[in-house]
């Protein structure tokens, strides 16, 4: 790939060790990597170099990664520049702050961080390759939302519409969910666990009995303990979100199952 076709990634990371880990793992013939340790210099670099993606830590001196994110999203030329915030904290408040700052992705610095960032890059820059690898993957445009709580349906519907989902069909329990699924074509199901008449696990087992729905992505949202949700994964769930969650958590989970259609 010639240099002009390569995607430019700016990494702003206070830890030299993690900076080197990212640089060495992402330096392929598809990407040009630049690094900065100071947010001021990073801002200048963005303006002059026009990167295709910014990966920034949170604790980067007097101006935090959140502030950088806010600043860039307010600058018309860079409002669409994708930003990945990286941090060691796996905390709802930090997730919320990342969402409020306008970050596009939030990646936790753990032993899966590099793979998670690579997955984001693949989805962002090479969607056609992702689609080729996974013929079933497609852009998620319509979602069946199953929750007995009207409040939670409103909360999740607002999040889904906010992240670009075009159609949200609602159902108030597992049986209603099955009925709605039979009546509507959807790209994904998001379901609560504990519901009257038929709970989420029973509904998902029923859905998976139908050969037409073997590859339909299903996400469970629940306040149950993580251990219990993980036990329920065998019933056919593809992913889960623990309540409470915010828009960014939901967006990232949906993005895992969505590949924008290649033009």
């Amino acid at each position: 790939m010639v240099d002009s076709e390569k995607k430019k990634i700016l990494i702003i990371e206070p830890s030299t060790f993690f900076e080197k880990v990212l640089e060495s793992n992402l330096s392929t013939d598809q990407f040009i990597i630049a690094t900065e340790k100071d947010i001021g210099r990073a801002l200048l670099k963005v303006v002059r170099w026009h990167p295709d993606l910014v990966i920034t830590g949170i604790e980067v001196g007097t101006i935090s990664g959140f502030d950088l994110c806010l600043l860039l999203k307010m600058m018309p030329d860079f409002a669409g520049l994708p930003i990945i915030l990286i941090s060691s904290y796996d905390d709802q408040l930090i997730h919320q702050k990342a969402a409020d700052a306008g970050a596009d992705y939030y990646v936790i610095k753990n032993n899966e961080a590099v793979e998670n960032i690579k997955a984001v890059l693949a989805n962002l820059f090479f969607p056609e390759k992702q689609a080729a690898k996974s013929p079933k993957s497609k852009e998620i445009e319509s979602i069946l939302l199953v929750d007995d709580s009207l409040t939670m349906r409103k909360v999740i519907r607002n999040i889904l519409l906010g992240v670009g989902i075009q159609k949200v069909i609602e159902a108030k329990n597992g049986q209603d969910g099955l009925d709605q699924l039979a009546a509507h074509q959807v790209d994904m199901v998001i379901s609560d666990w504990a519901m009257p008449l038929m709970n989420g696990v029973e509904m998902i087992k029923n859905i998976r009995l139908n050969p037409n729905y073997q590859n339909l992505p299903i996400i469970m949202v629940s306040a149950e303990v993580q251990e219990e949700i993980e036990k329920a994964m065998h019933c056919g769930i593809n992913g889960y979100l623990r309540k409470p969650f915010n828009a960014l958590d939901m967006k990232q989970l949906i993005a895992k199952f969505s590949t924008p259609a290649a033009e």
């Binding site: 997730h95 409020d100 709580s149 409103k154």
Partner: protein, 156 residues
């Protein structure tokens, strides 16, 4: 009741309200409660059972506080009074807070089951607490007003 078992409820409450309603929550000094009546205009109650712990957790909101929380959660205007949707939201918040505490306590090897939440509407409603067990009240302040979390838990 050890203080270390109360912290997960405190943390989960802050986490749930701040994440779902996007308003800062500030815990205040713990106190004990003698009367067996609800504190606020709407109250969520959830029973807790396990081989080593039983009792209940109560979450009670002033009317202004819960109307602000529900408006923020659902990105709509504040309602003028408590209605069925607010009742539904309190049930969901109670479930999420107790689920969050359950998750945190499970990591401390304290496992228990949660019953389905019950929601009472009205101030000074009678609550059936465990006898001879202290009712520990954790008050929280938000920009919309106060709410309390009460722990009435007995170690077996």
């Amino acid at each position: 009741m050890k203080a270390e078992y109360l912290n997960p409820f405190l943390e989960a409450t802050k986490d749930v309200i701040e994440t779902m309603a996007k308003i800062p929550v500030r815990p205040k000094t713990l106190r004990l409660k003698a009367e067996k009546k609800t504190y606020g205009a709407i109250t969520g109650i959830i029973g807790i059972t396990s081989p080593h712990l039983n009792g209940s957790m109560v979450i009670s909101f002033s009317e202004l506080c819960i109307l602000k929380i529900v408006a923020n959660m659902t990105s709509t205007y504040e309602k003028i009074k408590i209605d069925s949707e607010v009742v539904d939201a309190v049930g969901e918040l109670t479930n999420m807070i107790c689920g969050g505490a359950k998750n945190r306590l499970a990591k401390m090897d304290m496992k228990f089951d949660l019953a389905l939440p019950t929601v009472l509407v009205g101030k000074n409603m009678q609550i059936s607490y465990l006898p001879n067990t202290p009712i520990i009240v954790i008050p929280f302040m938000t920009e919309g007003g106060e709410f309390v979390v009460e722990a009435n838990l007995q170690m077996k």
